[in-house]
Amino acid sequence: MSEISEEQVAHLANLARIALTPEEISSLTTELDQIVDSIAKVQEVATPDVPATSHPVPLSNVFRPDVVGNTLTIEQTLQNAPEHADNRFKVSAILGEEQ
């Protein structure tokens, strides 16, 4: 039962900015399809009175008071930047607009 198409995989790869060869797209389509099928088995045991789980930890309302804490120094902040200028991260010209 194939739910995942090669077009979907190619689209996802594009969104994730991952370059895939046609062979990789083909094999990933098969694999993702199997994964989706496996996960779909959960639906067989889920009943309407079982709420969806988004988190395995049974906690809520874990907050932090609005108090200023430590920040990084500018050297720490930029230490892993491949390039920087004027204390800012330098990135190649962006094709496409802001989100």
Binding site: S54, N61, V62, R64, L72, F89
Partner: protein, 504 residues
Amino acid sequence: MAKDALMDYDKALELFEPVLGFEVHVELNTKTKMFSSAPNEFGSAANTNVSPVCLGLPGALPVVNEQAVRYAISLGLALGCSIAPSSRFARKNYFYPDLAKNYQISQYDEPIAFEGSVDVEMPDGRIVTVPIERAHMEEDAGKLTHVGGSTGRIQGAEYSLVDYNRAGVPLVEIVTDIIYGAEADAPELAKAYVATIRDIVTSLGISDAKMERGNLRCDANISLRPRTAAGEPPAPLGTRTETKNVNSLRSVERAIRYEIQRQAAILASGGTIIQETRHWHEDTGRTSAGRPKSDADDYRYFPEPDLLPVEPSVELIEELRAALPEPPAARRRRLKADWGFTDLEFQDVVNGGLLVEITETVAAGATPAAARKWWTGEISRVANVQGVEASALVSPENVAALAGLVDTGTLTDKLARQVLEGVIAGEGTPQEVVDARGLAVVSDDGALIAAIDDALASQPDVLAKIRDGKVQAAGAVIGAVMKAMKGQADAARVRELVLERAQS
């Protein structure tokens, strides 16, 4: 950039019905960011308000700012929304360097507030109820500066510089439902809606709400649908565009008007509207195409595994509800009644943005009428000439003091305007200006009588006429006396005295 064809606005409205929707982002003025204890501060040196969470460094764990949650709940309540007993955060995935971690933490299927409405007062005083679909919490993105190219815009840029100070600043995004029926008033409604949201967040004290700083940002969605004959079912909704970068109330109004005219021209010539982001350009008054709008699916939202659900107690919600300020529309209705202004007078005040000033001036002891007269009159005039806000010129206390000096007869209106000029020039309080410039009305009858007797003596023909009962002739003498007193006399008192002296 080719100019868009535009249809005449009235013609566009004849053919099409505008359908609106707004997304307003409100930056909260908490001390720290949404998920990190880095400062939420405007204007700091680049990348100095940054923690590992803001940079999305491996192992960094976001923790929710409690104050931001309280603010979001208060805002939700002020928008008439229900507060979700349980809401959660989601990752919105996209690749763009304004956020270092390749996703924005937002809320998707379980927003903290949903299904409300806001009463918006139109320039003509009508109330329009705007339906609110939801208000959700999220984090702001960093700021990019595009370098190279001629315009500083993205097109032609050689590279971009990223400052993450704003990344992670708490936002509440307010999303309206589809708004029908605005018709030709769509631009005014858009402006009035954003102004109302600004009023609400200002009265809650949860945001600095300065549009020019991006504390309050409006994305305006608009589509047109062709009108159908009476009795026919309405046409399906048209394709919408989302106009961004609209950062003043005036631009909101202009951008909507522009999009109506642009879309109408395309549709009328048989074209189709592309679903896309449009960027508003304040300088040219036009919009330009941005990227095609992604489907929500493309953001691959999923529950944020690093954060736990937010489940506000009923007690907390009720505590925040009890602390809500009076809604802006109700406040306006109350003030109008309290002050006894006519519709026209009150609209003048509202459109001049002077509600707060007049409230404070009245609180400082002036009558509402005097407060209105000064603020919408002379002070607004000077503010216009100087190109500044009226509130920046003079304090409500000084306006009340000035009005008091007129009431007690120390100043005439004319003298009071000179005193105001002195106060605006920074010469001190009204009383100090009166003392320093010697501007008080001469209320010493002796001085007035001396001046009157002089004037009568030098104009015997006038004196004869007055004695003949031609009272209107007294005007010439009154004028001479006022001139002699350098305007610092009460003309009515001078008139009384002139008539008295003429008969003696």
